[in-house]
């Protein structure tokens, strides 16, 4: 069995994960029409107490708890491709490993706050509001590692100077664009309404669509790269 076969198995997990993530997104009642930060403590508590919502919150977040770290294999595959690039040092592959170790932990943390908020919805509404705030701010503002992994990947691609580069230059441009799209989300605390509030156009829609798009595009170009590598290995063998 070739090394790339295992990588392809990891890669083909991605569509399944994407379906799960999309299902979580649709199942969680606070996402499709994102919860507004202007909701009062009573409204937030009522949201969690609502017998319509509660099971959906719990089950969606339990599933998210299972699969939020599913992004790590994708990053590991990117690391494997960066290693094939014409670099002199493993700096970029190390950096992506560091991003992989740091980033998903944060999503897991947001997930835990949501689950905790839903665990005892009958508690003091102020406490539920606090947990809800922690969950949303963690989820929305933590773009640092996502930005970093896109920028580092772009740098790695730009410096991959060989006749047949691992990724086309447009992948690097695309990554920089994605990184730029995520920047406004970190200002989430500044506004309760408008585009940078956590339910706003920039923070919620642009950023999450950017993440989704990034996963989709990287999945496709990774697939191309791995299949090409596999063919090359086949010829060599």
């Amino acid at each position: 069995m070739r090394r790339t076969d295992g990588e392809l198995i990891l890669l083909w997990m991605l569509p399944a994960l994407a379906i799960i993530w999309l299902a979580v997104f649709l199942l969680f009642p606070g996402f499709v029409q994102p919860m507004s930060p202007t909701m009062s403590a009573e409204e937030v508590a009522a949201f969690y107490r609502d017998p319509e919502n509660l099971p959906r919150i719990r089950y969606s977040m339990i599933v998210f708890n299972w699969f939020s770290v599913g992004l790590i294999p994708l990053l590991a595959l990117i690391v494997m491709q960066i290693r094939r690039m014409a670099h002199r040092t493993p700096i970029f592959s190390y950096s992506i490993i560091a991003c992989a170790a740091g980033g998903p932990t944060i999503f897991l943390l947001a997930n835990l706050f949501w689950l905790l908020a839903a665990f005892r919805p009958e508690r003091d509404p102020e406490l539920t509001l606090l947990l809800n705030d922690l969950a949303w701010v963690t989820f929305a503002s933590q773009v640092g590692f996502l930005i970093a992994q896109s920028v580092i990947l772009a740098l790695a691609i730009y410096l991959d100077r060989q006749a047949r580069p691992v990724f086309e230059p447009w992948v690097a441009h695309f990554n920089l664009l994605v990184a730029a799209a995520m920047v406004p989300a970190s200002f989430v605390g500044l506004a309760m309404e408008g585009p940078i509030a956590w339910d706003g156009l920039l923070t919620f829609w642009v950023r999450n669509i950017a993440v989704g798009l990034w996963i989709a595009v990287m999945g496709v170009v990774l697939g191309q790269a791995i299949y090409r590598q596999r063919d090359a290995e086949g010829v060599a063998a």
């Binding site: 740091g102 701010v137 640092g144 920028v151 970190s186």
Partner: protein, 277 residues
């Protein structure tokens, strides 16, 4: 990688800063290392600026304040916190490149890769308690000034205790680096720096009483638990920035001992040849 690429290097042109950067981007064989090193330098400058000037969360406020005083503090620092931490979140990913550079220093040593990987993962983890939890908590606190002061103080404690009271990642990380340097035979970093890492690790231990005392020298902003620790950490950081720069200058992309730096601090073109010996 072929060492011949280092052989015929065009001379660095004297032009403007932008020209020089463009030249390095095109020709410098050490560009990856330099990107990481400059990221590290810029990160520490921004980190100092954001924490000491913009958010004014360093030096930390008093741990013994009553809830209403804490709420007042959040009021006074509202925009500083929200804007400052937004920038902290944006730059937080820079730590990945920095840790990669330090991990690379261990990879260049004559020790097992396990050291580089341990350091990389430990420090990737350290960003969370090291600054992100603080930022998340204080953003949540500053967002709603009308919250119950008791809850605001809980947020405040959560923020500062996770930030000031997290020791293990830095402790074990420093020790991993120390052992790697002591075992190394490639002279990547000097041995005295390894012993300095031990000093740094020992001052991490000294922070522990911050979990017990709400005032005095052992509190989270106390003379011993905070100021001495910060003094040692700043010294340590300055030293390793300098040493990593020298390491990059000496780098020959070989696997043997790193050559010495020639007196004018310029990398020797024949460095890669010497490594073979």
């Amino acid at each position: 990688m072929s060492a011949s690429a280092t052989g015929a290097l065009p001379e660095e042109p004297p032009g403007s800063l932008l020209h020089r950067i463009a030249w390095h981007w095109r020709y410098d064989p050490k560009r990856e290392l330099w990107i990481a090193w400059w990221t590290m330098l810029v990160f520490y400058q921004l980190f100092g600026l954001l924490f000491f000037v913009v958010t004014r969360t360093q030096p930390p406020p008093q741990p013994w304040w009553e809830p209403t005083r804490v709420a007042q503090w959040f009021d006074d620092h509202h925009y500083g916190l929200l804007i400052g931490f937004a920038f902290v979140f944006i730059i937080s990913g820079m730590t990945a490149l920095m840790n990669a550079l330090i991990a690379y220093s261990m990879r260049r040593m004559s020790v097992s890769r396990a050291f580089a990987y341990s350091y990389l993962v430990i420090y990737a983890l350290s960003t969370l308690p090291g600054m992100l939890l603080l930022g998340i908590a204080l953003t949540v606190g500053a967002m709603r000034p009308d919250r119950d002061p008791e809850l605001i103080r809980w947020i405040y404690d959560f923020a500062f205790m996770t930030f000031d009271g997290t020791m293990g990642v830095f402790l074990v990380g420093s020790l991993v680096w120390m052992v790697a340097i002591l075992l190394d035979e490639n002279r990547v970093l000097p041995k005295w720096f390894a012993y300095l890492s031990l000093c740094n690790a020992l001052t991490e231990v000294v922070v522990a009483p911050a979990w017990i005392f709400k005032s005095g020298v052992f509190a989270w902003n106390g003379a011993i638990s905070y100021w001495l620790n910060v003094g040692v950490f700043v010294t340590y950081t300055t030293v390793f920035l300098t040493l990593l720069r020298r390491m990059i200058l000496r780098e020959d992309f070989g696997t043997g001992p790193l050559p010495d730096l020639s007196t004018d601090e310029a990398p020797e073109p024949s460095g890669s040849v010497r490594a073979a010996g």
